[in-house]
Every structure is written in structure tokens, then in C-alpha cells.
Amino acid sequence: MDVEDRELVTGLRRGDAAAFRRAYATYRPRVYGFLLRLSGRRDVADDLLQETFLKLARNAPSLREDTRLVAWLFTVARNEFLSYRRWSVLDITRILSFGREQSDAVDEGPEERTEAQARLVRLERALSELPPASREVLLLVGVEGLEQEEAAQILGVDYAALRQRLSRARAELAHRIEALEKRGAGTEPKRASERGAT
């Protein structure tokens, strides 16, 4: 646990508004990116981000001194997402849009891309097509760069299970990237219909 994190936790335990603002500014983009890539919807990610930081505000005085804030926030954010998924089974708008869903996390960007940009678009798209259980482990270990032990703790699994899950998710991702490369996705100019939709 680094010094800045410890200071933030100490401030939060005191109910210090400045510490909360600093924690919010520091971790908001990471938590939001995680939620957006996990849910694939901006509106959902907005709501879940709010719930996550409301929980932090409510629980700030009772945080333990040795709390790793990043792990705490990702654990809460993931639980909020799981809760949303359970309820979304009953969401009629989601059922009606089934098959037409496109992840908000995939930003197609300009029509003319360098190979590196095209590769990132393919990677983002392949990631969005993975099942959530595979996506979350890649988001935590890959995108967020968390230690594997920490990711295991967030996902509520032991280290060996995390390693297995990560290995499987990585293979799935590589397979999907390959499939997208064969289809030429990420490199072709966008069709007029796609441009109109974005």
C-alpha cells in the first residue's frame, strides 16, 4: 500500500471532503473504464459508478486503516455490476434490443487508422465480445495492471483459480482477435450505415 493511498484512507476515515475529492478524481476514470468495458453501456456504467462512490462515501468512516482503496473500489464496482446483471434479466428494453447491441466501450475512431490504432480497435472489440467472466479478469489484470493476488481477491477466487481463468480468458481473446483479423475488422473504412449509427 503506497503512502498516497494510506493518506487517502486516513482522510476518508475522518470524513475529510478533500480526501474524498482526491480519491474520486484519482480512481474515477479507472473504475468507470472497468464498468464501461464490463457492461458495454455508458448509461449503465454511469449508474454503477455513482453507486460505487456512494458506497465509498457511506462506508468511509468505517474503512480499515490498511484498506487498499483500489481493490475496495473494484470489488464494490464488480458487485454492483453483478447485481445489475441479475436485475437486467427483467429489463424489457434490453430484451427488445437483443441482437442489436453494440458495446459503447468500442470507439471506432477515425476512418483512416494506423496499424497500431486498428490493432487497438480490434482488441477493444474482441474484449467486448468475451463473456463477462473472462472480460473481468482481463480488465483487472491486463487493463488495470493489478497484481494477480489482488485480482483474485476482488473476484473472490483463490490464486490458482485466477491463473486458470486468466489463461482461458487470454486464449479466448487471442482467438477472437484472430477471427476479427480474418474478417478485416478494425482496418476497413466504416460503412455509411455504421457512420450514421455512431
Partner: protein
Amino acid sequence: MIDRDDDALLTELRALPTKDVEPATAERIGRVAAGVLVESKADEGHPWRAGLTRATRALTPIVIAGTVGVYLAWAVSAANALFP
């Protein structure tokens, strides 16, 4: 099994762009959460107040569901009485 340090694909994932919420939404969420922080700080010295808040939060959906249930039961029995 893979190690993060020598895995090119995981390294590429690290290069994905950061996503952030719209500034207006970020500001609104920050303001609401800061308000909640002030409330939870105020509740800290009064455990009964924090308990009351928690109980209210837990009981509200139960009361709503109960009211709806009682109303539906009444509506069904009233309809049965009208159309025996």
C-alpha cells in the same frame, strides 16, 4: 499458465485508452457522493442515527412490496365479489 510480465497480449491491454465519464455527470456524481460523505460523518457520533438510516433503507422496499401485495389481494377479492 501465463505470467503478466512476459505476455504481449496483456501488455497490449494496458495500452487501451482510458475511459472517463462525461464531465457534467462526473461533477454531479461527485457532488451527490460528497453530500453522502457529510451525512455519514454526521451519523458517526450517533450510532442510533446510522442504525435508523440503515433500517429505513432496508425497510422501504419491504413496506412498498407489502402495500402492493395487500392492495392486489384486496383488488382480487373485490373483483371476485363483483363477479362471483
